[in-house]
Amino acid sequence: MAATPRSEARAGLKLISPTAIYVIVLLALPLATVLVYSMMTGGRGNVSLPLTIANYAELWSKPVYGYILLKSLLVALSVTFITVVLAYPVAYFVSFHVKPDRKSLWLFLITIPFWTSYIIRVSLWFVILGYDGILDKALMSLGIMNTQLNFSSYGIPAIIFVLAHAYAPFAVLPIFVSLEKVDRSLLEAGQDLGESRWVTFLRVTLPLSMPGVIAAALIVFIPTVGDYVTPKLVGDGREPMIANFIETALLKLRNYPQGSAFAVVSMLMVGIVSVVFVLLNRRFIGGSK
């Protein structure tokens, strides 16, 4: 690759410097600080040397940490799976069965809920699903149930349900974009070569749209695994996830080293899952070329 002319490099660096300095000071340094804290000792709001890996050893030895991580992971993966599976037919419908000039309108309709207050949407589910909520009242007045269902207290399933609803629109767009890129003549070629419409879908369309599916999975997975509001509101706060636990460790217990170590491990976990997604994507892109 050609080296960069020095004047161009200088102009580029100068231009990006305000943004770069901002993120270095307010993002990179704090993250580095958390990393350093995670290897220090202390508690109750102070930290001290020497550097140690004791905090990580404790994470490893006490099952509660693993439980929180695993639970968050499973919740996020379930939500990811549900949203992607539900979103695919929708994206497929808009891409293949909607007239080109109407596509924007459909996408617009699908995206609007995503841009309307997340807090209100989640809180509404609390009102709907909670004890004596709209759902309970409706079910009881219709005579379907005679006691409170109080779905909200069902913990993990309720969390998954609410998160799946909250992040559903995220999944449609990337899948739609990848479906739009599928050359329509490939499908005709598939059928021309004697495959049925369904097999053509399985052998041509689905593999070609996998990059979009994986992008969708990533886009849903990352915010859900770190979601704070839903576990706090739904499930009566009895099923904390990563974000809630970090809050407890850092702000309530004020154990900076331990909380930092947990944050670092969480980041690592999210990072590893993301990398797996990306690698999967590479394979599909590589395979389709």
């Binding site: 960069t4 660096l13 990006i16 943004t19 270095i24 419908f93 617009f108 609007i112 841009w115 009242k137």
Partner: protein, 268 residues
């Protein structure tokens, strides 16, 4: 190719997406303190109560200050980064852009907490300013994404043509580049504004209990008596969001039409 079941499924999906939002206006105008069916009559009392809520007004004002500041700052930082990454090659570009976009793939709680830990350690008092500082971090990647595509759709030779016709770097930026990416700048501003206005985690933890709309709403929903007026507020907010988004989409399309390109789909 008709696909009735696909269409049916999509409509059902939309209903699922919209169901809680549809309940908003229904109960916002329902004349009952208890949020449940059957409905008991029409009232605008909840809107009146919402309007009279002094704390709510303070929270809304704070949220507006934050969202306007965040949208402005993020868009400006986004312009710098997007322009630099589209136009120039320079050492360290990939890691720098990676760092700028990092909050997209980082749980927000971790962004908030790492910043909070540092702010507490060096003794910076929490305020609206610290909320703005944090939210700019998570909004900038969105601004960069939107603006990058705006800058990319600019033909490089337009710039060269202006230089060739006697303009300077700066007047070229002012006369050619800025007008052509203006729709992207507006879209970025609106989307950052919306994200900031909605944002909860940073507002909650870096705001140190200051009344900020999302935090206030979150708190009020715990009191059943406050729920109806919150629904009224929600109705108003949803209407605002739709208007803002409609405007953003309109600007985006106008931008594409101006640059002579083709519509490649929605946001992001």
């Amino acid at each position: 190719m008709k696909a009735p079941w696909l269409r049916g499924f999509t409509l059902f999906y939309l209903l699922f997406l919209y169901s809680p939002i549809l309940l908003l206006p229904i109960f916002a105008f329902n004349d009952s303190k208890v949020v449940s069916f059957p409905l008991s009559g029409f009232t605008t009392n909840w809107f009146v109560e919402m309007w009279a809520d002094k704390n709510l007004r303070i929270a809304a004002k704070n949220s507006l200050i934050i969202a306007l500041s965040v949208a402005t700052l993020s868009t400006i930082l986004g312009i710098f980064a997007a322009r630099a990454s589209v136009r120039y090659r320079f050492p360290g570009k990939a890691p720098l852009m990676g760092l700028i976009m990092l909050p997209l793939v980082l749980p927000e709680m971790i962004v908030a907490m790492s910043l909070l830990v540092v702010l507490l350690s060096i003794g910076v008092p929490l305020s609206l300013l610290t909320v703005i500082m944090g939210q700019v971090l998570i909004c900038t990647p969105f601004a960069v994404a939107i603006l990058t595509s705006a800058f990319q759709s600019l033909d490089r030779s337009l710039e060269e043509a202006a230089l060739d016709l006697g303009e300077t770097q700066w007047s070229t930026f002012r006369l050619i580049i800025l007008p052509l990416v203006m729709p992207g700048i507006l879209a970025s501003f609106l989307i950052c504004f919306t994200i900031s206005f909605d944002e909860f985690i940073i507002a909650n933890f870096l705001g140190s209990g200051r009344p900020i709309l999302s935090v206030y709403i979150f708190g009020q929903f715990r009191f059943p008596s406050k729920v109806p007026s919150m629904l009224a507020l929600g109705t108003v907010l949803v209407c605002f969001s739709i208007i803002l988004l409609g405007f953003a989409e309109y600007m985006r399309r106008r931008g594409i039409a101006k640059a002579g390109g083709k519509d490649a789909g929605g946001f992001l």
